[in-house]
Symmetry: C2
C-alpha cells in the first residue's frame, strides 16, 4: 500500500516475511496473545532480528496493520487540551491525517479491512489495544464507561471517513475541514462526555 | 448476493443480462442520465422486456444496486411521527433491517461498495437519488439545508453499520438494539434538526 521509495539495507524480503508472519499471528491470537517469539518462529528468523527491524511489539503491530497513524504519537496531542476539547481535537486531527499524503493509505486500510475476516480482526485489535486502551489510560474518561463511549466515537469517525473520502458524498466531501470539524465535533463530544441514557431507563421505556 | 430460491419463469439469463447492463449504465451516466432504452440496447433486448421484468427505472435501479432496503417503502414509516422523531425512527428502522435476514446482504453491499470505483459510484447515486431526494420531497426539512444534514446523517449510519456489524466492536456489537437507538438517535436528531454552525461563523473563528 505504501510505496517503497528505495530499498532499505538488509534484506527487505526478511522484513516482509516477518510482517506476513506478524499479521497472521496477530489475527490468530490477538495482540495480547501474540508474542515476538511466536512471530519470529513463524517467520523462521531469530527473535533478535524481529526486535532489530521493528522494535517493540507495539511498533511491529503498527507496521503489520499498515495504519498510517500512530495512536502513541497522536493521542497526546488530541488529549492535550483536556477532556472538554477532545471532540474538536479528535475530528481535526483525524481530518488532517486523511487530507495528508497518508490519506490514500488510510483509505486502503479501510477498504482492505472489509475484504476478509482476518483483516477485520486486525482492525478490531488495533482499535481495542492501540486506541481504546490508550485513551482509557491517558485521558480522564471513566474507565468503566470508556469502552462504550469510544465504540460510539468509532462509529462516527469511521462513517465520516467512509462518506467524505471513499463515497465522496456531497456537500460533505467538498466542505473545508474546519467546517466539518464544527459540524461533527459536538456529536463526538456528546459520545465522550455527554450524559448517556442508562440501560435500565431504556429497559423501562421499551417495556 | 440474494439467494435465488427458484428459477423464475422466462429466461433468468435475460434478467441477469439486463441487471449487468443496468449497473454499467447507471454507474456511467448516473441515475438521472440513464434511460431504460439505453439499458435495453446495451443488454440487447427490447425496452418492453426491461419494463416487463423490472417495472420502473426506480425499481430497476433498486434491483441493480442490490440494496436490501427500499427507501420508497421505508421512508414513509420513518417519517410518520414527524420531524422531531426522525432520529429515533431512523436508527430503529436501520437496526431492524441489519438485524433481519437482509442483514448479511446489506453487509455485502457495504463491503462491495468499497471494492471498486463503479460500485462506489452506484452507492453514491443510490444515496443521492433514492434517499436524499425522497427525504427532501417527503419531509419538512428545509430543502437548502437538507443535503448537508443528510450527508451528516449518512456518516453516522454508515459508521454504525460498519462498527456494529462488520468490525463487531464491543461493547457496541452486543448491545440490545433499543439501547443503541437511545445512544445514537440524539446525535442523528442534531444533524437533522439541530442548529448547525454557519460557514461564516466558522470562517471567522478559524481566521
Amino acid at each position: 500500500m505504501v510505496r517503497r521509495t528505495g530499498r532499505r539495507p538488509g534484506a527487505p524480503d526478511t522484513r516482509e516475511t516477518i510482517l506476513v508472519a506478524a499479521r497472521e499471528t496477530f489475527a490468530e491470537k490477538g495482540f495480547d496473545g501474540a508474542t515476538m517469539r511466536q512471530i519470529a518462529t513463524r517467520a523462521g528468523v531469530d527473535p533478535a532480528l524481529v526486535h532489530h527491524y521493528f522494535g517493540t511489539k507495539d511498533q511491529l503491530f503498527q507496521a503489520a496493520v499498515q495504519i498510517p497513524l500512530n495512536p502513541a504519537e497522536i493521542l497526546p496531542m488530541v488529549l492535550a487540551d483536556g477532556i472538554d476539547h477532545l471532540g474538536t481535537n479528535l475530528v481535526r486531527t483525524f481530518l488532517k491525517v486523511w487530507d495528508s499524503p497518508a490519506g490514500p493509505a488510510a483509505a486502503a486500510v479501510l477498504r482492505s479491512a472489509m475484504s476478509s475476516e482476518w483483516t477485520v480482526k486486525l482492525l478490531r485489535e488495533f482499535l481495542v489495544t492501540q486506541v481504546l486502551r490508550r485513551v482509557v489510560n491517558e485521558s480522564d474518561l471513566d474507565s468503566v464507561e470508556a469502552p462504550l463511549r469510544i465504540s460510539l466515537v468509532a462509529t462516527q469517525m469511521a462513517g465520516l471517513a467512509f462518506m467524505r473520502y471513499i463515497i465522496k458524498l456531497e456537500p460533505l466531501a467538498s466542505l473545508p475541514s474546519e467546517q466539518v470539524v464544527a459540524l461533527i465535533a459536538p456529536n463526538v463530544q456528546r459520545y465522550l462526555t455527554g450524559e448517556l441514557p442508562s440501560p435500565s431507563a431504556i429497559g423501562d421505556a421499551a417495556a
